[in-house]
């Protein structure tokens, strides 16, 4: 196991002692939001872009991650001269509420019981709560209107919630590989992930810190299962096919049932074990639950267009052909909901065999779409 634990790193953050009222009715205080910025805020404060991260992402968008030592999760998209050009735009990325990379979450000490973290008692949060926490930072930075909000997957849900909750603050919105509500199939996948965590003997009813343990097996299985949903059959076949190799950890040798392992198995095990080093199980539960609750139409008789009536935000919806977790059919539901609201909508389906993860990977058409949409919007917003 890696010796650095996530809690040892000091993340840049803002602290809001007065906290915030959550949708569940609970008043969470204090609230801390860890964030990173890239580029320079213009004198007119009109060039800010909020990038929202996905389920297991964090604020380390375009720089080496302090914990993993790997490049930021969207460093191929965000930077000087890149599609989200930091020579031109001021980019803010914040760890979501309920996360484990410096923003208030289940691993933080609870104010009412000395010396004890929240754990499973952390209040249920929603995507809208995440967005309201981000707005605290945006307000504190003195930014009255965001030029754009961009994000994929759960980040796309936050983009939609930004545009629905603070329509006058969002000039352009780019929801990528996302949906107007979390589908039954996706809730089902999340449930399998959670059950894997619950089934780990090291789970200890969510109070694993008391035993100085982490439910690493359960969290790794959750990650392995979820990771399959981020890929596609084509991508798995291309990367691994049916290739087999000797399992170095299996002493019994090739004659035993698991003496050899498929490369795809080895890959998933690696994904699982590296994930548990940087993620907290209770955070995983809190955030997956927030995704499950996401439904733009929930407060509007099931009509996801209603939150957008009268909106002046320019939208660009992007989906990917091989994404079966957030398929194009769901993006189309979103596009049509925005049409019903007479919103200004672009809608592109990018041809890719890389599955849901395509938004993080090298897709030149996607890069061109991001760059073009932002440039076009900047022209309409009359910013540099």
């Amino acid at each position: 196991m890696d010796q650095t634990t996530p809690t040892q790193i000091e993340h840049a953050h803002m602290l809001f002692p007065e906290g915030m009222q959550l949708e569940c009715g609970f008043r969470l205080a204090p609230v801390r939001v860890a964030y990173r910025t890239y580029g320079t805020l213009s004198a007119a404060r009109d060039n800010a872009i909020v990038v929202c991260h996905a389920l297991t992402g964090d604020q380390y968008l375009a720089e080496t991650h302090p914990l993993t030592g790997k490049p930021g999760w969207w460093s191929r998209m965000v930077g000087p001269g890149l599609p989200i050009d930091t020579d031109r735009f001021f980019v803010i990325c914040m760890n979501v509420l309920g996360g484990c990379m410096g923003s208030t979450g289940p691993r933080d000490p609870r104010p009412d019981v000395a010396g004890e973290p929240w754990g499973t008692d952390f209040p249920p949060i929603t995507i809208r709560d995440m967005v309201r926490a981000q707005k605290l930072v945006v307000d504190a930075l003195g930014i009255a209107r965001l030029f754009a909000v961009v994000g994929g997957s759960m980040g796309g849900m936050q983009v939609l919630e930004w545009a629905a909750t603070f329509p006058d603050m969002v000039f352009a919105a780019m929801p990528i590989a996302t949906s107007p509500f979390h589908s039954a199939q996706n809730i089902a996948f999340n449930e399998v992930s959670r059950q894997a965590i619950f089934a780990d003997p090291d789970w200890h009813g969510g109070r694993y810190w008391e035993q100085d343990a982490v439910p690493a097996r359960g969290l790794a299985v959750a990650r392995m299962m979820a990771h399959i949903t981020y890929l596609s059959e084509e991508a798995l076949t291309r990367k691994f096919g049916r290739r087999v190799r000797r399992d170095p950890y299996n002493q019994a040798g090739a004659m035993s049932l698991f003496g050899e392992i498929f490369e795809v198995e080895s890959y998933l095990r690696h994904q699982g074990s590296s994930f548990v080093r940087r993620f907290d199980a209770n955070s995983y539960l809190t955030i997956t639950r927030a995704m499950d609750y996401f439904d733009l139409g929930a407060d509007h008789d099931g009509d996801p267009s209603r939150p957008f009536h009268g909106t002046r935000t320019r939208f660009c919806i992007v989906s990917f052909t091989s994404d079966w977790l957030f398929p194009t059919s769901q993006a189309r539901l979103l596009a049509r909901a925005l049409n019903r609201a007479a919103a200004n909508v672009s809608f592109v389906e990018i041809d890719s065999d890389k599955g849901h993860d395509a938004f993080l990977l090298d897709e030149p058409d996607f890069d061109r779409t991001v760059r073009g949409f932002l440039s076009g919007a900047a022209e309409h917003a009359r910013i540099g």
Partner: protein
């Protein structure tokens, strides 16, 4: 931009909301935004064209005339444009109805099947006519609902649409001289261009 697109643009008042169905490379959208200050958006069926348009900063969504117009609210636009596509949609009458529901005006262009060359070729050869405008064989053509200028006028009458402007143009988009006579236009016009509105609007 094609000349007939210039004629379409001339029908559109500055600063209005426009939906261009079948926006292609987005040339009309770009022109309307830059020279007319219009809020111009597109729908395009070809994903490559959609990606190209969005990459040029134009608001275009993937979709088509038959399936995507029903999702817009009434009078969401001042003009809804359908260029050279009416003959290729599944249900032209329904598409026109949707255009004049979501838009205060409809601008429609289509190739005229009443052109003299088509009439002559069918009469003399007894086979489906092929011309510069109608250049794909019957088994391959996407043009499943060809009509003549007179046919289109009859449909407008039946549906209660007011023809505010019409003109016949040749294939290159040059405006044809027979603008006074519908019968001459139906014989000599290669493309027709109509500006419609609903009666009582």
């Amino acid at each position: 931009m094609r000349l007939d697109q210039r004629l379409i643009a001339d029908m559109i008042r500055p600063g209005t909301r426009v939906l261009d169905i079948g926006s292609g490379d987005g040339a009309l959208l770009d022109y309307l935004f830059r020279t007319r200050g219009c809020d111009a958006r597109g729908i395009e069926i070809d994903m490559r064209e959609v990606t190209r348009s969005v990459a040029h900063g134009l608001p275009v969504m993937h979709g088509d005339a038959d399936h995507d117009l029903a999702h817009y609210p009434d009078e969401a636009f001042d003009y809804v444009v359908l260029q050279r596509t009416l003959q290729a949609v599944e249900r032209p009458r329904e598409v026109l109805r949707q255009m004049l529901r979501i838009g205060r005006h409809a601008i429609v262009s289509f190739p005229n099947f009443g052109h003299w060359q088509l009439r002559l070729k069918l009469l003399t050869s007894g086979r489906m006519p092929m011309t510069a405008v109608w250049h794909t064989p019957w088994y391959q053509t996407p043009n499943i609902h060809p009509c003549t200028i007179l046919d289109f006028l009859m449909l407008c009458r039946e549906e209660g649409y007011v023809v505010e402007q019409w003109m016949a143009v040749d294939e290159d988009g040059e405006r044809a001289p027979w603008r006074r006579s519908i019968r001459l236009a139906n014989l000599f016009g290669e493309q027709a261009l109509f500006l419609l509105r609903r009666r009582g609007h």
